[in-house]
Structures are given as C-alpha cells and as structure tokens.
Symmetry: D2
Amino acid sequence: MGIVLGANRYGKAEVHLVRVDRGEAWHALSDVTVSVALSGDLTDVHLRGDNANVLTTDAQKNTVFAFAAEGVGQIEDFGLRLARHFVDSQPAIDRAVVRLVEQPWDRIDDAPHSFSRNGSCQRTAQVCYAGGTAEVVSGLTGLTLLNTTDSEFWGYVKDRYTTLAETTDRILATAVDARWRHTDASGDFGKSYVDVRRLLTAAFAETYSYSLQQTLYAMGERVLAEHPELAEIRLSLPNKHHFLVDLSPYGLDNPDAVYYAADRPYGLIEGTVTRDDAAPSMMDW
Amino acid sequence: MGIVLGANRYGKAEVHLVRVDRGEAWHALSDVTVSVALSGDLTDVHLRGDNANVLTTDAQKNTVFAFAAEGVGQIEDFGLRLARHFVDSQPAIDRAVVRLVEQPWDRIDDAPHSFSRNGSCQRTAQVCYAGGTAEVVSGLTGLTLLNTTDSEFWGYVKDRYTTLAETTDRILATAVDARWRHTDASGDFGKSYVDVRRLLTAAFAETYSYSLQQTLYAMGERVLAEHPELAEIRLSLPNKHHFLVDLSPYGLDNPDAVYYAADRPYGLIEGTVTRDDAAPSMMDW
Amino acid sequence: MGIVLGANRYGKAEVHLVRVDRGEAWHALSDVTVSVALSGDLTDVHLRGDNANVLTTDAQKNTVFAFAAEGVGQIEDFGLRLARHFVDSQPAIDRAVVRLVEQPWDRIDDAPHSFSRNGSCQRTAQVCYAGGTAEVVSGLTGLTLLNTTDSEFWGYVKDRYTTLAETTDRILATAVDARWRHTDASGDFGKSYVDVRRLLTAAFAETYSYSLQQTLYAMGERVLAEHPELAEIRLSLPNKHHFLVDLSPYGLDNPDAVYYAADRPYGLIEGTVTRDDAAPSMMDW
Amino acid sequence: MGIVLGANRYGKAEVHLVRVDRGEAWHALSDVTVSVALSGDLTDVHLRGDNANVLTTDAQKNTVFAFAAEGVGQIEDFGLRLARHFVDSQPAIDRAVVRLVEQPWDRIDDAPHSFSRNGSCQRTAQVCYAGGTAEVVSGLTGLTLLNTTDSEFWGYVKDRYTTLAETTDRILATAVDARWRHTDASGDFGKSYVDVRRLLTAAFAETYSYSLQQTLYAMGERVLAEHPELAEIRLSLPNKHHFLVDLSPYGLDNPDAVYYAADRPYGLIEGTVTRDDAAPSMMDW
C-alpha cells in the first residue's frame, strides 16, 4: 500500500481572448475564454519539483494569443489546433484537453464596427487530443427557457414524505446546459451549433410534458435524429420552480397568473441520449 | 452631543414575481424583482422594540404578489401603485421607495406560450411617493456595448506616474448602467424605455470618441434632446479595457487584431446630463 | 431648459494590491483593493473630448502601486495619502474619493511567512479630500451573525395582507454592513476598527431583540457611546430569514430545531445612529 | 445505431438546512446544504413521461428536513442515512448520491447562543449508496493559503512562446479544493476532517516549493501517510498569481514588496495522490 501519484493535469485557465477581424467596411468579433489542461510524463515535477518537462502555464497563455494571430474561427477548430500543438511540440505531454467558452455579440443595426453583448446563452466546446486521436464535444450553457403551460406532473410515488399536489398545468422552466459529442473531430461546427440550438429550443417548446425527464429525452432525441454526425448528447436541466402564490388569504383569486420564482432548492435533471453503437468517449465532460 | 436615531428605512428586498397573462391563444410574461423601503414614524421600534408602527416585511411581500393579481404592466406604474398603497394605508409611513428590476424574455418563434430569457440587459425602475408627490426614475443595467474602432485617447496629463501610450485607435467597451428621471410621474414608460435604449445604443455606436467621458455626455445629451419629458439622466460606464497583445516576442505581427480582455481593474466613468432648470430630485438614486 | 453636464467623477476601480513586509523572521501581508474617483474641471473632456485635464485612470492605478512602495499601513491613512496626492498634484482636480477594501489574512500557526485567508468579514474605508479638508469613513462588510434565541417579533400592524404569525422565539441572523464616520481625519484607525467590530458583535449577541431595528440601534448606540471620536454610524442589516419547517405532515415534532434558510426575499433594515450635533458629511457613502 | 437513453440521474439540489441543538445552556448550530441525485429504473419517465417510479424532488427535500429532526451530526453520516433511505425505500431506485456542503460558524466568545459565520473554508462530503455498498468522500473547499517566500520556479521548458522569467523567490497562493476517499464508509469523520485540514495547511506552509505540483503532492502524501483509513486524495489548486509590479518607471525600487493580485487567467493544477492498492471508486467526484 505505497503512496503514489495518480491522475493529474495542469494548465492555464480562463484566458480571455478577443479578436477583431477588420474588413474593408465591416468588422467581426470573436470573444473566447480558453482553458488548457495537459497531462503526460509529470511524475518528476510532482515528486521532486523538477520542471524539465513543464511547459509553463504562462507559455500556454501566450500560445493561445499567438495562435489567435492566424484567426480564431470556430472554437472547436481553434481548440483542436491548440491541443495538437501542445502534444506534438512537447515530448513529455501526451494528452491535451482544451475547453472554450464563446460569448456571442450582436451587430448593432447597420453600424459596421459596433456590437452589443448577447446574453441569451454561451457557446462551449471541449476538445481532447491524445495518441494521435482527437475528440470534439460542442455545447451551450445558460439557455433559459420557459413554457407557461402544456406541462403536467402527476402519477408519481407517494411515500411518507410526499406532500406535493399533483397538477395538470404548471410552468416549466430550465436553464439548458447541453453538450454533444461528434463522431469525428472535423465538420462544420458553426453550422451544427446553430441547428442544435434551434432543435433544443423547438423540442422544449413543442413537447407536451409530463415530466422534465420526458422533455430532456425529447430534446436529446430530436438532436440525434437530425444530426447523424453526433454520437451522444448530455443535458443538465435544473427545474427552476415557479410556485403559484396562494392569494386566498386576501380574498383574491389566482387563476394561474401570479407565481413566486424560487432560487433554491431546485430540481436537477441530468441525462444522456446516445446512439446504441456509440464508441466510448476519450475524456470526461 | 446626545446619541439619536438618524435616517432609516426598512422593507422586503428582492421579491421575485412572475406573472402570466393567458390570452386565448398567446400568453405574455412579466418577470419582475421588487424591493420596498419604507420610512416614517419608526423611532419606537428602534429605541424600544415597539412594533406598533411596523408593517411587516412579510406583509409587504404579500402585497407585491396580491397587487400583481390585477396585472403588472409597466414596472414604473406597478411600483407607483405599491408605493402609494404603503403610504396611504399606513398612518406611520410617510415615504415609500420601490425599486424594480425587470428581466425580459423573448417569445420563441411562433410558439404561443414558450419563452427564452433575453440576457441583453435588464430594465430597472425606482419610484418614490411622499407628501402626496411621486417621482419616477427609469433605467437599464448590463447593456454591454463595444466599438472596435473610432476611439482615440491622447492629449491627457503626463505626470510622474503616467506610462500609458497615446493611441489613435482602440477598442471601447462598456456595460451601460443608465437611469433617467421623469419630470412627471406618469407617461408611457414602456414606449420611452424602448426609445431611450435605442438612443443610448445609437449614440454609443455613432460617436467618434476621444474619451469615454465624451461618449457618456453624447449618450445622455441624445436622450434628453429627444425626450422633453425627462429631467436628467445619470450614466455609470465602466471602461472595460481590451489590451492589444504584444506578439513580437514570437515574431508575430498584431495589426489591431488580438486583445486580452481584462476584468480588473477597470476605469469607471460616472456622470449626469441634466436640464439646467431641472427641479431637485426627492430621492437618492 | 438647456442641456448641461451635471455631477460627474471618474477613476480606476478595483486595483488589487498585495504588499509583503519582510522582517528578519516574520513577514506581514496587506491585501487591499483600491478604487479612486476624481472630480473637478472636467467639462471639456465631456463636451469636446479634450483630455488636457484628465489624469488617466492608468496613471491612478500606477500611483496606487507606487505609493505602496512606502508601505500601506492602515487603509484609511493609505487612502488619505492617495486622495491628497491627486488633488494637490492635479490643478484641475478639486475632489478625490478613495474607497478601499481590505481582505484579512491569518498567520498559519507559528509559520513565519505563511497565511490563510480569513473569510469572517472585510474591512472597508472611504475617504474624501476636497477644499483642504479630509473626511474618513471606516467600515466592515460581510460580518454574518446569528442568534438562535432571545429574539421575539409581535405587536406589529395587521393589515389585509398580514399573515405572519407572531413569535416569541425565532432565529435572528444578519450580514452586517457597517460604516462609521470619524470626526477628525486622523487617529488610530486600526485600533478603533478592532474595537468597533468587537462592540458590534457583542451588542448583536447581547441584545434581547423585539425587532431587527432595535438590534440595529443598540449596535450603533453601543459604538458611539464608547467612541467619542465617531460622529455617526450607518448600518445595513439584511434579515436573513430562517423558517421553522413544518414536519407535522410526517408525524414529526419540530421543537425549534429544523429550519429552512432562505436566500430571497429578505428583509433589509437600514439605519443611522448619530450624534445630534454631528456636522454634515462631505461625501455620499 | 438506434437512439437510446444513457446514464441519467435526478434529484433536489441545494436544500439549505439549519439545525439548532438547544442544550440547557449552550446551543449548537449545523448549517448544511444538501443535494440528492437518484438513479435506477427511470426509462419510462424519460420515454413516456410515466412518473410511476419517480420519487418527487419535493419529497426528497422534505426527507432532508425530516431526517434532520433526529439530528444532523457529521455530514458524511447524515448523507449516508439519506442515501440508504432513498435506495432502500424506493424499489425503482438502485443508486443514490448525496452531496453536502457545511458552512462552519464560530461561537461568539462566551455567548451561549450567538454565532459568527466562519468564512475560512467550507466542509464538503459526497456519499454514494448502491448495491448494498456505501462509499464516502470527504473534503473542503475555499481554503485560501499564501506563502510569501520559499517558492522558486525555474528549469522549465523554453519553447517559442515562453517569455516567463525564472525566479528563485515568488509568492505562492492557492485556494485549496480537496476531496479524500475513505476506505470504509464509517469512522470518525469529524475528527479526520479536522486533522486532514490541519495537515493540508501545514504541508502547504512547510514545503519549500519548486512548483505548485510539488506542493500538491506533498500535501496529499502528508495526508495519506498519517491517515491509513484513506484510500486516495484529490486536489485542485488554482495558482493565484501575484505579479511583482515594476516601479522603475517612477524611479522606485520594489524589493519583493508590492504585487498585483490577478484574477484571470490563473494556473490550475489538479492531481491525485493514492495508495497503489486502492480499490476503484464507485462514483464520479
């Protein structure tokens, strides 16, 4: 029962990069936050403080900015360029994971170089490169959706601690965190992002729901059905409770009109929709 | 030099109210967080713990929900109804300030009762009622804007501690917090909100800027020039610095393309644009 | 009704400075975040973008670091040195406000140069220098206190919307934000800080409370009674509600044992305790 | 390549429970936030919205409060009681994971029922129960430590993007997130928590460091060496950079005294120290 070093990784986190592409008339903006995690032959640094195999996190940060000089493009592609570079250029590093969060901006009307931050959600990516193989997971976070009706909840277990009243009409609200794994580490990631986001939103809006789990599966199934290039999708859906307020103490009716929006606690529904022949993933996500 | 009670107020803060208006086909959504602050004859509660003049903050919360039973409408009007109620119904209370933050939601395409949270900015209001008089301040917060060019910064003081290089082309970015005071406590607050937001955004985009102060004044002046019903506007503009990254150590050019977006420290520019005959305001805001 | 520039100020916000004082054997640590706001003859920069009177916020940041070379000491004194410098060295600037937040660190046992962040609360200061006069407000924020008993709440107004049950035993909890104004802009600020913090804590613990307002006044009065050098103290006390959980649906008693700690909404009690002959303050705080 | 349901779980998150134990003279306080995640035969709810196997998250929340009626004790034990209950009482549920975060409070001097929130760090636990077997992971988060010296960093890879200067004396600071897995799901968790925290702090302070990785390993090794009941420990250590400020432009020396504390980006060092014969863990953590 000796004591040994187990799994480990290190890197620079949250490098906030903004790139401006200046066309003749119109400018374009990329706003990306990049985090790098490298693994490999790092026993000596842990056991003896020998840094001979350590590419500094400062150099990783510099690399992110330097690579942006050639353009950013789709964040999945940018992450892959970085991950491949770290593994291919560093003999001691055999695995790189790069996580990216893209903040979208909207162009202000017809202003050629003015932008307004779009707070609807953020686009994410996580890529891995190891052993000559790459894997890409795309995603989005913070997409908050709400249906005012077409949601029931009944027929559940009634144990000693169950006091919740069944309902045939409730508000259903969630902040979607979705990540989808591509079968291949190449493709038109920008196009698929726009479409997956559209499908997730549409499936949420169109599903007559008897549980948030059902809505989750419907969202994931819709995406996989339309996107054969995706192996699986994982969804994390907080159930953002809206409680109908009892106004009867004041002699008032409340015909499904006035709600209290609670912060905590909240339900948390997490699930994967996958192809039955999907290969295992090569990273945690 | 006796010790006495000075200015004081109390109330319920951050009551998160959601109201659904269910039409035949289309639903509408109001998402408002309300904070109440009451002042008046409250010496006994402070000095002796005598609560005879205290309307509980719990009752204030209940009032917010109960009043929403009749509809919410524009947040300024909803706040005024609440403020008047507290002062008019409570003999000991002579002043009520109500602050409101409205979270906008977008309708999802042609779905009649599905919504997506709009994160571009939040609408705010602060209203006061005292002595038979009301005052309304409208506002917005979190509107993040960025110009990729048309911003210079030079000609400033050079003291011992000045090392900043002058520039004739920089990124200018800010998160607008704006509040504007209405001359009268009535009007079409929804319509003016939409237009003030449009004017602030347009003035930011269209002003060729030699300083963020100049942009601030241009934004405020534009609003007052177009809205005679407003007495003054106050703007708080953080200067969200974007630093051009020096890529020369790696032998790379950086022709105003790659920037590092810093979190802290940041510049903070605060200013008021007002009419020279504006009456004084009756509250802090 | 011309449109004119009103009140304005600008400066660098949230400069995060850490200073190490390296003694022979023991090191000491100062961790201070500094924000500067300057006012004066700034019309030209707002109206015409003429920066001739503008000391850049970058230079302000540099000044903070440069002044720390001579030591930081008590944050009130450090703020005063900065405020005086900006006004005295800049002909166009006639008023400087400096706000400071100090993060305390604890020494790790008998380790001479190792520290652990103390999260109990943060020390604050806000100083102003204008017209040859200085003013100092000291404070603390985030000091979260809780009494498990000795708190009653009854005898309040019962209006149409009051449903809260009276109680003769409840949890009373708050996060103290306190600021106290010194009569003179000099003194042993470190010593008074320690003592004021002690008095606020003791008064909270020792006051048998019939309302949070009563506790607030008792806290403020205790401080002024013991500190003749203070002109007034302002307290902002959120009432962090702890609701006794009804366990009777499961056939269980709950003899004041199990509580739900709510985040929002919360009560907010704000009040000033002052000397009746206190001179007016020269700044907003 | 059919589309199927993959891994999934659901539960109530962030139930904020406070329990008061009222002795004759002295009161004690437990402040715990509990999150539950259940897995099992949940295909029907995902595919058809059939809730027959669903124990509502509302009932899970009620259970947390109801179980607290019998006392909370060590959070690991409380979590185990809950996890066992959910699996044993629900035929459809075969696996429960409970995560707990305990907020410590300090007694105020000799006040028998007054407390002050201790912000130094939070205690955490994650327990799993499945297949008649339980597993316990204890931890802490937010323990922020800083050494002002005894930290060097040199001898690292110099690639094209490396510009960092080597140093033989720097500030080393981190916010420790540590989790340690117990070999058995029983024991004196409170006692081991106190000791592990002490060892982590001491190892950080006492290790002369050539890299944060080396410090990480020393911290983990120290814990495993002293605690034979632990199978492994995982550490996540952000490298909170403190940059020495260059004061030479103002003609000032800076002999390792004045630093700028940066927020982002930061290094992130993650590693496991384990026994070489540790059985695999039965959950993700």
